[in-house]
Amino acid sequence: MDKKFIYCDNAATTKVSKSVLEAALPYFTEEYGNASSIYMLGQNAAKALLKARETVAEALSAKQHEIFFTSGGSESDNWAIKGMALNGAKSGKKHIITSVFEHHAVLHTCEFLEKQGYEVTYLPVDENGLINPDDVKNAIRKDTCLVTIMFANNEIGTIQPIKEIGAICRENKVPFHTDAVQAIGNVEINVKEMNIDMLSLSGHKIHAFKGIGALYIRGGLSLPNLIHGGAQEKSKRAGTENLPAIVGLAQAVTDATRNIKEKQEIISKRRDRLIDGILKIQETRLNGDREKRLCGNVNISIRGVEGESLLLMLDMFGILASSGSACTSGSLDPSHVLLAIGLPHETAHGSLRLSISEETTDEDIDYILETIPKVVDRLRSMSPLWERICKNEGITGTI
């Protein structure tokens, strides 16, 4: 039998799709002009750039002049937050509202601003990984210059009440940014209806290239530059446009936002089978709301086992996944997201995230569900923590 290879880490990054690659290829060796150049080759590039901008705008129900290409999700987040912070300071507004379980691109940017004299309110999330819009309302002050709340969480996949939060911000005239890196293509997004002022997206989560993304900035909202230099992106973001990546991003956005409903239905069925199957193992729990979650996200804590050894062993069986364990985060603490929903450290160390895509088949799900209990059995049978749990709580067996 061939060694299995089942990629279940699409929340980390995705495979570039054929259609994206094909769309991008001509812009490497044929249409390689600089969009700022006056000759035909340059003008072709400018046209392709405009078309890509229109495509991305349309998918968000925005206007083309509201889309700015960036180097990815992290840059978009940095730009929105630092830009609004600079704006706010001009009128003495130095208060930002975010949540405790944002991506580090948001959290570390906010922490940086705190060191520069800004005040940041980190809203809590409930045990299901959801933010209460009332908390946003209550946190808004006269000096609040920005609310930034992620659309969908990258670890536990929970989808936030963005429309409600947007409405509250609009009512209070506070700019609202959302990191939609995980949401795009999984959830229908309409920036106008949802009262979104700025939105970050990233290519490599939706089968485009790494290092490309965009920031939607609502027309009329003034946002100072993060990157200064040439006149690209209407002088708002300098740097010769990465046209192959931009064309690829537009293709990926088109593919990802086409038939979202159908895709959701198919993928979430497989996801639910995975969740129900893994939860049959004793002493496991699903992290994050069961209903309000991304259609491809499974995040489960398995007591008595440690996440990294679980991942290494799954890898031996050809299943590629991720974990919120400290050992995989490069720090000594387990995932801030899992701690934020109230998991004790020891449970957070034993978490497993599987993020499936439209390419994950029913056979893949069968194989994963056959394999995980074997691996858990093996790790629990050598775990002194599991031994202790069993003794203290009168549990028998390993799975």
Binding site: G304, E306, S309, C327, P334, E346, H349, P384, W386, E387
Partner: protein, 143 residues
């Protein structure tokens, strides 16, 4: 982060996994909050560690260092075992990523803690022989 082939070998096929029902000494170090616990069992014949087994909850490096440590002390005298340092475990594993060095410390502590327990069971104060084990002292992550 990349593990050496030796680490992966000991993770994939850990040596001496299990328990010893009538162990002469048992040691447990680490804690669940930090994400690793090692438990080591020894059987002593005269002054020789005739058998050793371990159980570990932890990352790949934690399992590999426990496995390697048991391999290094099996059949050795207690004196020889006590000379085993975490460095020696790391070297035998052909290196560990810097963030994982604490796992090797834990393995050394687990072994010493099992030997201490052995002495205690003999009614001998282990401190002058084994020294201060300093459980978890390397860990700055949990508070």
């Amino acid at each position: 982060m990349i593990y050496s082939e030796k680490v992966m070998d000991h993770f994939t096929n850990p040596r001496n996994v299990g328990e010893i029902a009538d162990a002469d000494g048992v040691g447990e170090v680490g804690n669940a909050k930090c994400g690793d616990i090692m438990k080591m069992y020894i059987k002593v014949d005269g002054d020789v560690i005739s058998d050793v087994k371990f159980k570990t909850f932890g990352c790949g490096a934690a399992i590999a260092t426990s496995s390697m440590a048991t391999e290094l002390i099996k059949g050795k005298t207690i004196d020889e075992a006590l000379k085993l340092t975490n460095r020696a475990v790391v070297e035998a594993l052909e290196g560990l990523p810097p963030a994982k060095l604490h796992c090797s410390v834990l393995a050394e502590q687990a072994m010493k803690s099992a030997i201490s327990d052995y002495y205690k069971k003999q009614g001998i104060d282990p401190t002058p022989i084994v020294g201060d084990i300093g459980d978890c002292e390397e860990c700055h992550g949990c508070n």
